[in-house]
């Protein structure tokens, strides 16, 4: 396998981007990510995006976003109707072919124009679940109850995740929900989507993110400290919510194993886990066998602090890589999810250049 590294990363996130359309807020992020490399989008061997047209409510909405990368003369590009993390996986695969050395990965989406909880119902089985229109929060709450009923976690654990996420987010200029919150005070809040409280749910975020990948020695040309992808894999669990144990994530465990997480002796320094709902962080921590006394979980604040749908998974990879590039750790694991209740999961193991 060719060594591929993250050489640059940029993002934008906001509560409610009322003025600009997706192209207008994506373009500056593309420029910001490319600038330190000295390259233009025309220099990239491959370009791939992650987004979902259902967020905009327009078919082929993703095509117009190509304007933001200046696709003339024509470029080699691709798209996945998924979180940008899965677009990054495609770019990583493409780089394995050996004929190109660089790739541009971007993700964007506005959750604010529509009702994102309802939009995500379209991910469900269209025959037997979709027609009931169960929204994303209701389904996440169903999963949370399975976890709480199992005895593996308590309400206090959820409050701990929320408090820690918002405290960590104080250091993240792109986060929307940040601050010092007392765990007991969080537990005093009323239940909302019982058993979840409002703060167990993510914010509604509009955003974009861009990552530049490079292979082999090219990566060292383009940045001071490449962050190598030591392994990357994604797996999926069954789609029928009543036919799997919602308190565990076997696809995350398998993806972690295939990505070589177990090869990092002694555990990774930090983990960015894509958990839009607080209880999901607990499930993922267990699924990846992370030791919280050894591994910092979501130093960015995670998706509970900022949740640009279709972007937040790519942001996990970017945030983890950026910290390693800055010397804040040597190894990391980044995770991305898609589908209801952690149905599909990607795990990416990162190591800073020595």
């Amino acid at each position: 396998m060719r060594d591929v590294a993250v050489v640059s990363y940029a993002q934008f996130a906001a509560r409610n981007e009322q003025s600009r359309n997706e192209i207008e807020f994506l373009l500056p992020v593309v420029k910001e990510a490319l600038a330190p490399t000295g390259l233009t989008s025309q220099d990239m061997g491959f370009t791939v995006s992650g987004s979902s047209d259902y967020l905009a409510g327009q078919s082929f909405a993703f095509v117009s976003a190509l304007d933001a990368v200046g696709p003339w003369p024509p470029i080699a590009e691709s798209h996945v109707e998924m979180d940008g993390a899965f677009a990054l996986y495609e770019a990583w695969v493409r780089l394995q072919h050996g004929d190109i050395d660089t790739a541009l990965v971007y993700a964007f989406g506005k959750s604010s124009p529509g009702d994102i909880g309802r939009v995500l119902s379209l991910q469900l089985d269209p025959y037997l679940a979709g027609p009931l229109w169960p929204d994303a929060a209701s389904l996440a709450a169903l999963q949370a109850r399975v976890l709480l009923d199992s005895g593996k976690a308590s309400e206090k654990d959820l409050a701990r995740v929320v408090a820690r996420s918002r405290r960590s987010a104080l250091g993240n200029p792109h986060a929307q929900l940040k601050g010092e919150y007392d765990e007991a005070a969080l537990l005093d809040e009323p239940l909302y989507a019982d058993p979840l409280r409002k703060h167990d749910l993510p914010p509604i975020t509009d955003g974009a993110a861009v990552i530049v990948l490079a292979a082999g020695d090219r990566a060292r040309d383009l940045c001071e400290k490449p962050v190598w992808i030591r392994g990357i894999d994604h797996r999926i669990d069954g789609q029928a919510l009543g036919s799997r144990d919602l308190s565990v994530s076997p696809s995350t465990t398998l993806a972690g194993r295939k990505a070589g997480l177990g090869d990092i002796g002694g555990g990774v320094d930090l983990a960015e886990l894509h958990a839009p709902f607080s209880h999901q962080e607990l499930i993922l921590t267990e699924a990846l066998g992370l030791d919280e006394t050894r591994t910092r979980i979501n130093p960015s604040g995670g998706a509970l602090a900022s949740n640009p749908v279709m972007v937040a998974g790519l942001v996990r990879i970017g945030e983890a890589a950026a910290r390693l590039a800055a010397g804040d750790g040597q190894t990391a694991v980044a995770h991305a999810t898609g589908g209801p209740c952690l149905q599909q999961n990607l795990v990416c193991v990162l190591e800073a250049d020595k």
Partner: protein, 168 residues
């Protein structure tokens, strides 16, 4: 409660209606353009890199990947760059057949706009023909390109092929 099971055809098909509602914003550049249309003005924007006047502006020059710059008002007369005679209707169209759609390069713009063409026999429609917009009555103007109902020929010599061949 029990009723006799209906001896009917097994279910083999279902209809699943989907409806999603949004509050859509076209963005800053498109909003300016649409406001211009409401005032009867065609407003393009110039790309700071290739210097072309983009119409309608949606924020970015799609060739250069640059945010658009200065606003440029474009005339409502132009050149018919290419056209199609349409003989087959499609859903929801109520125009009498046959009709002509064309790509018009409005004077001052560097991109063409699709419009309906009227007021000329089909066998006289030709590339390079000079045309002018026929607007709906002003009281019907809204935030839309559809304020221009169609274009009609004007009495000017045809534009030279060299002047628009890059747009084909």
């Amino acid at each position: 409660m029990s009723t006799e099971p209906v001896t009917a055809v097994p279910v083999s098909e279902i209809v699943t209606p989907i409806r999603l509602d949004y509050r859509y914003t076209p963005g800053e550049a498109s909003s300016r353009f649409l406001r211009g249309m409401k005032e009867g003005r065609i407003l393009g924007r110039r790309c700071p890199s290739c210097l072309k006047v983009i119409l309608p502006p949606r924020g970015c020059c799609s060739m250069c990947g640059e945010l658009l710059g200065e606003e440029v008002e474009v005339k409502d007369s132009g050149t018919l760059v290419t056209f199609a005679v349409v003989n087959v209707n499609f859903a929801n169209r109520t125009i009498d057949l046959p009709y002509v759609t064309g790509e018009v390069l409005f004077d001052g713009a560097d991109m063409t706009t699709m419009v309906l063409l009227s007021g000329v026999p089909l066998d006289e429609v030709r590339m390079g023909m000079r045309v002018k917009a026929v607007w709906l009555p002003e009281e019907q103007w809204d935030y839309t390109l559809a304020n221009i109902d169609h274009v009609e020929p004007i009495d000017e010599p045809d534009a030279d092929y060299e002047s628009f061949k890059e747009l084909l």
